[in-house]
Symmetry: C2
Subunit: 479 residues, 2 copies
């Protein structure tokens, strides 16, 4: 097992340096590589396969709810970005500007899209005329660019991949219902496919999306106690529609402005998955999005029959819908064990001459390394439960981490004290004033993560100013 | 049928103005819309669904051959683009340049990728060290930008979507085999999924990809007799590897340069599909990539039972794997007929009270409008053959168009005469000199489409200069 030790030793321990552990895992599990373009990453085959699984799961959910995919230009003319005032203020400082095409200087600069509300609005103006044209439920899969100062693979990159849904509705009620529905789609996906428990809530005015009336969010807590905004859904009212002059005639033949939403989830969520489930042996990938759900490792593969049985098991599992691989390379079993632990493959199936003799194999779960002896004839049938077991334990472990790291503060001193000693969510009452939000950032180093939909009445007064509290807020440090 | 006539009349006839017919179909079938970004298009849901089907078909073929997807940055630093001399000469004049990030001026300009050889090479330099690391068989799905002067939806847009495969191999033989294999994948896909017959061949030196040693191509002939380069596969030798310093140690522990390929197919192929199969009633989509393969139109839908039977048929067909839709909207049957003809849905299924009484429905094929009476109980079972029938007739019709439009010229006068009178391929012998290629462009307005793999010996001498001929070439006008 010397090779295994060597491979494992190359990762920094989480407890020693969580940030270093993170980048070690990204590199050693071959998720992403750096590129010579500052702040941009190369997503390698294993990382790309995880993203494709995430994409397929989400895309199926979107389409089942009537959404359709489109592909918009990657450029936005400067004048188009400027149509909605709050929006341009929020995004103009962080966009990449194209000024030349070939050798000619452009008469108008184009920005590389940081988000596509303006492009969708321009198109919607062309195609929405009557109530019969509504709702429009569009989505696109693409990459966007934001000129970030400090970057880390997946968590914050200048270019990142995402989906952005953009919908138009006849009424405010319908649009708000869509905003809530899509937040629920995200929460369902993140909890049931990525095994990450989330808090659903609303962003404060300060933290909401540029140009939105309301931003809803799902927030997940990482292993180190920092929060990650994992998916957002925005309600725009008719603000963009008015700015862009998008109108439709309703059933009474009156001109109306449609109401709008947008919602997005990005490759950032892969960073969240790594920081929620990973350990000192590397990545742990939840079964629903794992490129390889089970790897079969032949033991003493040179002995008669082992490779044949391994191949037969692979075919049986594949036929049962499991994403399975046999590693029959020359590397030692110990090396392979370490390699697939590093890559976070949920189940390892060991099969050797003695196993074949007894008609069994050994299944080892990635998360707790527990070994289960399974009859060869029963393996395919037991896979769903074995995979579900990994998922359930991952979710439970993440939930326990969150519960252990969720605190309550009734006074400012208490909040500052917790923020100094602990890393996690701090629940505290808030009056709704941005001044108090800024004070908490200044004095405790925390920001508002969200006003959870599930409110608790901790006290009557704001933890900062002592005025009447409007809501309970989750505060914390965030990625 | 007044509405139908009205809808149909809105398309220009192909014979009156083929270019106008093309853009009419793109707009009326709701494939794509224009945007305020010059030369960029909005791919609408129906066009996007066709592209997703193309993507899924190709992606499955690529993965079955061991290729893996990655996601590369969209930017290339100017110095990186310049590493390979022929490559930068070919592409630098037509790239979009990013010069500012937010408010800061960049120290080095970034171009928006026109193609990604340089980015792949940079990454391959990081990850290829030993013969054990080879081959690398990578692909990515993305959009690229080329600063084109004149643009048309799908056929030539500043931004277009494509896949670009980039592979590295230990030997020239392996790389050449990959180049040929991927051209065959393209030919198989285009003929068997898009029903477009292709000619496989090699590009001349003048027409090959910037930086490649050899470019292979599949060429398709459009309804109007102009050719469309439909997919290309390039062999690079070790030119980029030497320029980028990519080396590996072989089995004898010697340093070697790997050999490289790239290959691509783009949203252009949708333009080819439109111009191969469309007619004066609109689009015709081959069944393999049709978002809707069959549309069920209830006749006299208010009468008892019609909608129920339509819904039952839909469920039966969907269960049999057919992409099917019922249109139970308020529009008249005539309107619906015209609408789905415009959208090129391969099969229309009409079901009314009298059909139900007799236990039948009427299936109408989009391509020839032939009606087939089919027993309701047999419909699902007969769908594969009915869809295959549409495919086969589309392929046959396109093949006949190509054969009718393929000419042979033994002298320059003959070639010029054919080029003046006809639109199509002209087969003629060529000495291999670029001067003769330019002369044909100048005097007959044709370019070399390819040197087909299936060579014919038409004569011993070049049709232009009379020197010894090296190969038979397909000449023609092209999109």
């Amino acid at each position: 097992m010397k090779q295994q030790e060597k491979l494992v030793k190359e990762i920094t321990s989480m407890d020693v340096d969580f940030a270093k552990w993170y980048t070690d895992v990204v590199r050693k599990a071959e998720l992403a590589d750096y590129s010579s373009v500052r702040g941009c990453m190369v997503v390698q085959p294993y990382g790309c396969a995880i993203w494709e699984n995430i994409r397929d799961e989400l895309d199926r959910r979107f389409k089942a709810l009537g959404h359709e995919n489109v592909m918009m230009p990657m450029f936005i003319p400067e004048s188009l970005l400027q149509v909605e005032k709050d929006h341009v203020e929020g995004f103009a400082p962080e966009v990449a500007w194209v000024t030349h095409g070939g050798s000619e200087k452009l008469t108008e600069r184009l920005c590389v899209r940081p988000t596509s509300e303006t492009l969708f609005c321009e198109h919607y103006k062309n195609i929405i005329h009557s109530y019969r044209d509504l709702p429009k439920l569009y989505n696109q899969w693409c990459s966007v660019v934001r000129w970030e100062k400090t970057t880390r693979p997946f968590l914050r990159t200048m270019e990142f991949w995402w989906q952005e849904g953009h919908t138009m509705h006849a009424t405010a009620e319908e649009a708000i219902a869509e905003t809530e529905q899509m937040l629920n789609v995200y929460a369902d996906f993140v909890e049931n496919c990525l095994a990450m428990p989330v808090v659903k809530g609303q962003k404060t005015e300060k933290e909401k999306f540029a140009g939105a009336e309301a931003t809803y969010t799902i927030e997940a807590l990482m292993h180190d106690g920092k929060a990650l905004q994992s998916g957002t859904s925005h309600y725009f009212g008719d603000g963009f529609a008015r700015a862009f002059g998008i109108q439709f005639t309703d059933r009474e033949n009156k001109l109306q402005y449609p109401h709008q939403t947008s919602w997005g989830m990005s490759t950032r969520i892969i960073g969240g998955m790594i920081m929620t489930h990973g350990d000192d042996n590397g990545l742990v990938v939840p079964p629903a999005v794992a490129p390889i759900q089970a790897v079969i490792i032949p033991i003493a593969a040179h002995k008669g029959g082992v490779l044949e049985v391994a191949a037969r098991l692979r075919d049986e599992l594949a036929a049962a819908g499991v994403r399975v691989k046999v590693d029959d390379s020359d590397n030692s079993p110990g090396w392979k064990f370490a390699e697939y632990e590093m890559k976070g493959v949920p189940l390892r199936i060991e099969i050797g001459p003695r196993d074949i003799e007894s008609g069994n194999c050994v299944v080892v779960a990635r998360d707790n390394r527990e070994k289960t002896v399974v009859a060869l004839a029963e393996l395919a049938g037991r896979m769903p439960a074995l995979l579900q077991g990994v998922h359930d334990r991952l979710f439970q472990r993440a939930l326990e981490n969150r519960e252990r790291r969720t605190f309550t503060a009734l006074t400012l001193d208490e909040l500052i004290d917790i923020a100094n000693r602990e890393s996690g969510y701090i629940k505290a009452m808030w009056c709704g004033d941005e001044a108090c939000e800024l004070a908490l950032k200044d004095r405790a180093g925390v920001t508002s993560r969200c006003m959870p939909f599930e409110q608790e009445h901790l006290s009557d007064t704001c933890v900062v100013c002592g005025k009447k509290a409007k809501s309970m807020v989750y505060w914390g440090k965030a990625y």
